[in-house]
């Protein structure tokens, strides 16, 4: 497989200008404007440097500008490879130990930045921030929207799947990256909203000022109202080998394959069965990367069942009640070992399985990025929070919450007189709903005419199928958003395939007995590689949960290209009863695992603080000696003192205390301080110019 994704079943591949750059003295090719990380990955470079403490290889981990693990030296200066755009002729080097400060002694004339006032400052241009900005824009309110990335949309731009939620409120049925475009287009219509991209908010200060770095310039903003819509960060997990290269957050992986269009691996394994993990597996397959399996510690996946079923149908095994034991390899992941868990969360002896993979995706949940919210509140600022920064949920919920918060801010400014409808709050709650119980749903009895079969057995907030049916023949059973879809009594299906093409879960098939009452045609949705389902080719058809129903030749492949781009509609002919159970097409063979003998899983060597390379064992020793203050733990071990500012290790520190049987009420949390990311002294001094760049 080439290291660049040159074609994709869903995403279009933009044309880019090729440029040359140097990497440790070697000349390489990359694309202008892509991140240094993408350019290096495209050239097969995964090791970006070695850690000063233990010489361990360093490279991409969060791909989100947060963790600082991907530091490289570009034109003499240490920068994050995941945030720095490639330029022609750039000289890039690995960071070996401490970087040297360039001996650039040219005098500078400082231009300190004045404090600028705005009515509303929104930090984060993801689904929540954008939606709020649109409402404020409609009301003509002076708003500044800042985001650290080079485009609007936040994590929406990584989402190649169609969205759940409601059609009327959150573009359900549209693919995430397209929703980002739609919101950005809408926002562009409102001149009262100014957008600063490539702008990282770095601190909320006691004087009610938010500090932000725009390019290399420092900006001080004093907003009347502040909205923190900074989304979430990924939780990390402590296990041996957890900092090997090739262990990524699932979000980092999505960034690499779907935004940067590079293929960081050939075979991944996924830890965590929430929606993020399930979707990451799906994104891997779409990017032409094998997914060897997924482990989930709970008895069932936490994400939407339709997402899990979609993966299973494509041939990705899901191991519930399993845990990751270790990632194995010298510098880079070469294999991963998992094991079964008993009811007491202990590893079942002899249940170890090892898979040869080069990448392990961690998707064990998200944590709210709400430090600025808490700090602003403590400083007495008028601050709001929305989206994942408030409560982890789906992007659909974040969009709606953003919109409602936009109105609340307008109201607090006296710029919106009406009451905010009560129904909105209810709607917001519904959109935030966790997946409900799973129902048993027998196959339809009738064997005549044409009708959709719903492989949708779990209540989730989603209604596109009902919205697109031209005959209004589909309705939700019970709640109009949460209920399961069904055919209206006496409703007429015309076989238009809209519901099959729109369903975000790929959980609707269409069975057509009209031409052949014994061997009906079945139409199945498919979003991976077209050549696997070419007419005449034999495909393995599965039921809802991935059990094989036999191999069948493909009769026809169509698509409703204009309305529902990206979803192929694959027709096969099958026996009548099987046809009603058919739900998907298998893509890959089940991965074989070798089973090693019993191993001991003592993660004392697992790294907790990645920045300072502090192990669980080191920290545990202090906890056992009675340390209960994380600030003292930091003073003693440097855990949390690194570049990321404890963003990654803090949840793990709490976990460690819990595992040691410490009453968490006795534990004192780390004190949060600015800065959010590292910023050159020269930026604060205004050494690189004035305000003319905005």
């Amino acid at each position: 497989m080439p290291r660049r994704i040159e074609r994709h079943p869903i995403l279009s591949i933009p044309e880019k200008r090729e440029v040359m750059f140097a990497w440790n003295g070697q000349t390489l090719k990359g694309y202008e404007g892509e991140t240094l990380a993408a350019a290096l990955f495209a050239n097969g470079v995964h090791i970006f440097g070695h850690h000063f403490k233990d010489g361990s290889p360093q490279g991409i981990f969060c791909a989100n500008g947060q963790c600082s693990q991907c530091l490289v030296i570009a034109d003499g200066l240490p920068v994050k490879a995941c945030m720095t755009p490639l330029k022609e002729g750039m000289v890039v080097e690995s960071v070996e130990g401490f970087p040297a400060l360039p001996e650039d002694d040219a005098a500078v004339s400082p231009h300190p930045s004045p404090i600028r006032e705005v009515d509303v400052l929104i930090i984060g241009a993801g689904p929540a921030g954008l939606s709020a900005a649109i409402e404020l824009g409609k009301l003509g309110i002076d708003t500044l929207l800042v985001d650290d990335k080079d485009r609007l949309g936040g994590k929406l731009i990584l989402q190649t799947h169609k969205f759940f939620g409601s059609v009327e409120d959150s573009h359900a049925g549209v693919r995430g990256y397209r929703i980002a475009d739609l919101l950005a287009e809408e926002l562009a219509r409102y001149p009262s909203v100014r957008v600063w991209l490539n702008t990282t908010a770095v601190g909320v200060f006691a004087d009610g000022v938010v500090g932000a770095v725009k390019g290399k310039g420092y900006r001080r903003i004093r907003p009347r109202k502040l909205l923190v819509a900074m989304g979430a960060r990924e939780r990390m997990l402590a296990f041996p080998g957890n900092t090997l290269l090739g262990v990524f957050g699932a979000g980092a992986f999505q960034t690499l394959v779907n935004r940067d269009l590079v293929r960081p691996s050939s075979r991944v394994f996924i830890v965590g069965g929430g929606n993020v993990g399930l979707i990451a597996g799906y994104h891997a397959l779409q990017a032409g990367i094998e997914a060897a399996g997924l482990v989930e510690a709970l008895p069932q996946v936490g994400g939407y069942k339709v997402h899990a079923d979609k993966l299973k149908r494509l041939g990705v095994p899901i191991f519930t009640r399993h845990t990751v034991v270790s990632a194995n390899g010298d510098d880079h992941v070469e294999s991963v070992t998992i094991a079964a868990l008993d009811e007491n969360w202990r590893i079942v002896p002899g249940s170890y399985k090892t898979f040869a993979v080069d990448t392990l995706l961690i998707a064990v949940g998200l944590v709210e990025v709400n430090e600025f919210y808490r700090k602003a509140e403590a400083c007495g600022m008028d601050v709001f929070v929305a989206g994942d920064a408030q409560e982890i949920g789906e992007a659909t919920a974040a969009m709606f919450a953003g919109k409602v918060t936009g109105f609340k801010i307008a109201k607090s400014l006296g710029r919106f007189e009406e009451e905010i409808p009560r129904a909105w709050e209810t709607k917001a709650e519904i959109l935030k709903s966790k997946p409900g119980p799973v129902w048993k749903r027998p196959a339809p009895e009738k064997s005549e005419g044409v009708f959709p079969v719903f492989h949708c057995v779990q209540e989730i907030p989603c209604n596109p199928c009902a919205s697109v049916c031209p005959e209004h023949a589909i309705e939700m059973d019970g709640d109009e958003l949460l209920g399961l879809p069904r055919l209206v009594e006496g409703g007429r299906c015309v076989g238009c395939l809209s519901c099959v093409a729109v369903c975000p879960g790929l959980a609707i098939s269409l069975v057509d007995f009209r031409k052949d009452s014994r061997n009906p045609t079945v139409t199945l949705p498919y979003e991976v590689w077209r050549e696997n389902v070419a007419p005449g080719q034999t495909i393995e058809v599965t039921d809802m949960e991935g059990n094989t129903l036999g191999r069948y030749p493909v009769r026809r492949v169509t698509a409703l290209k204009k309305k529902f781009p990206g979803t192929l509609l694959v027709q096969v002919e099958m026996d009548g009863e099987l046809a009603k159970r058919a739900a998907g097409i298998r893509l890959q063979k089940e991965s074989a695992a070798e089973k090693p003998g019993d191993g001991e899983a003592i993660p004392d060597e697992a790294i907790i603080c990645r920045c300072e390379r502090v192990t669980a064992g080191e920290l545990r020793a202090h906890i056992r000696q009675g340390v209960r203050d994380m600030n003292q733990l930091k003073a003693l071990t440097r855990a949390g003192m690194g570049a990321c500012g404890s963003k990654t290790c803090r949840p793990l520190l709490w976990q460690l205390f819990r595992e040691e049987g410490v009453d968490l009420k006795e534990v004192t949390d780390l004190v949060d301080r600015p800065l959010f990311v590292e910023v050159p002294l020269g930026s604060f001094a205004g050494a690189w110019g004035d305000e003319s760049d905005d």
Binding site: P78, L101, E103, D105, I115, G211, N631, L681, G682
Partner: protein, 384 residues
């Protein structure tokens, strides 16, 4: 049941912890009480870690010379790393006034045993590569000063104090100093009472409220100072630099590269800000950065990692307040370290232990006269 000790130290900070260590080493049964949950969580952790004997008055010089001996030999004596760097202190001079001040105090400094010299601009540039040469008139340099990690040092002192038998109560607030007939009896906390004939006030900015309506009035104000630390880079200078030039909004700034390659910096705001709000302000970084890159342009590319704000408990003349209370017998003040608690602490701890055990020396008398709570607070420390 009331616990009884020989001495109770209020505050487990830069002075309290080394004091407990020194007392316990003398066999004094010592209790330390602090409202924070672990050692050094008040102002100690806000310190840069600069440790100098370079002061303009003999008392401070003498205490800090002893501190330096303790810092510089700690690791080889006890094995705990405290990140000690013997890099000296450098006070570059760009103006005639600064040059004059620095040269004037040399005799006093040398008389007190300090190893210090006024060096040429070329020598300054050798010690601090990248310093702006234009207008540089040399500077004073004291090679035996250095810096250490306050975080590691206080934990090392704490472990040592515990090993010597000192008892620590954390997360407990002293609500009153107990007296009878103008004699100390102990302290009361929200959890109970503790008895001891000696109570040592090492509460820094909280000394005035601790001793309110009790002993002598303590003229201490909480002055807010901000500081920051950068990413680590390959070591390129070893000294702690004090830039004495006053500028708009600031009186001076100071920075060093610590043992971990990180540059740690602070600034004295002008006018000083009095208060207890320890949240960072947006004005500090632009102010201190402009000063630092002006004197050392190459610092512009160095990335700031974190900033914080802490309190200097200051006396009117910039010297500590140390001595037995004249109104309440058994109450010993060791406070108002004026932002120098970390460097004074180890030497001060030993001095206090000699006071408690009645073993003070002639040298101690010189120091105690200078730090007396009853002095007139009129003089002015040139290197405050």
């Amino acid at each position: 049941m009331t616990e009884t000790y020989d001495a109770i130290v209020v505050g487990a900070g830069s002075v309290g912890v080394p004091t407990a260590m020194a007392l316990a080493a003398q066999g004094v049964r010592t209790l330390v009480i602090d409202r924070h949950v672990s050692p050094g969580q008040g102002e100690n952790k806000h310190a840069l870690g600069g440790t100098r004997a370079t002061h303009s008055v003999p008392g401070k010089i003498l205490v800090c010379l002893r501190s330096l001996e303790i810092f510089s030999t700690w690791e080889e004596t006890y094995g705990d790393p405290i990140d000690w760097v013997k890099g000296g202190y450098l006070f570059p001079a760009y103006g005639a006034e600064e040059e004059k001040v620095l040269k004037e105090i040399l005799p006093v400094q040398r008389q007190s045993g300090l190893n210090i010299d006024y060096i040429s601009p070329e020598e300054v540039q050798e010690i601090l590569p990248g310093i702006r040469a234009e207008g540089l008139r040399g500077g004073s340099y004291s090679p035996d000063d250095g810096n250490a990690s306050p975080l590691l040092a206080i934990n090392a002192f704490y472990r040592r104090a515990v090993a010597e038998g000192a008892v620590f109560h954390f997360g407990e607030r002293v609500t009153a100093i107990l007296t009878r007939d103008d004699r100390v009896e102990g302290v009361a906390t929200e959890r109970g009472k503790y008895h001891a004939p000696v109570v040592i006030d090492t509460a820094g900015p909280f000394s005035p409220s601790l001793c309110a309506n009790l002993g002598e009035e303590l003229p201490i104000l909480p002055e807010l100072h901000e500081a920051g630390i950068t990413e680590p880079v390959r070591p390129f200078f070893k000294c702690l630099v004090v830039d004495l030039r006053s500028g708009p909004g600031s009186k001076n700034d100071y920075f060093c590269q610590n043992n971990r390659g990180q540059v740690i910096f602070s600034l004295a705001p002008d006018p000083p800000e009095i208060g207890l709000n320890k949240r960072s302000t947006s004005s500090f970084l632009p102010l201190v950065s402009a000063r630092m890159v002006d004197m050392m342009p190459r610092l512009k590319n160095l990335r700031v990692r974190r900033t914080w704000r802490g309190i200097y408990p200051v006396s009117p003349d910039g010297a500590p307040i140390v001595g037995w209370d004249q109104k309440v017998e058994g109450l010993l003040h060791a406070t108002a370290m004026c932002g120098q608690g970390f460097m004074l602490g180890p030497g001060m701890g030993e001095l206090l232990s000699r006071m408690v055990t009645g073993k003070t020396t002639e040298r101690d008398a010189v120091i105690l006269k200078e730090f007396s709570p009853r002095r007139r607070f009129e003089s002015h420390e040139a290197l405050k």
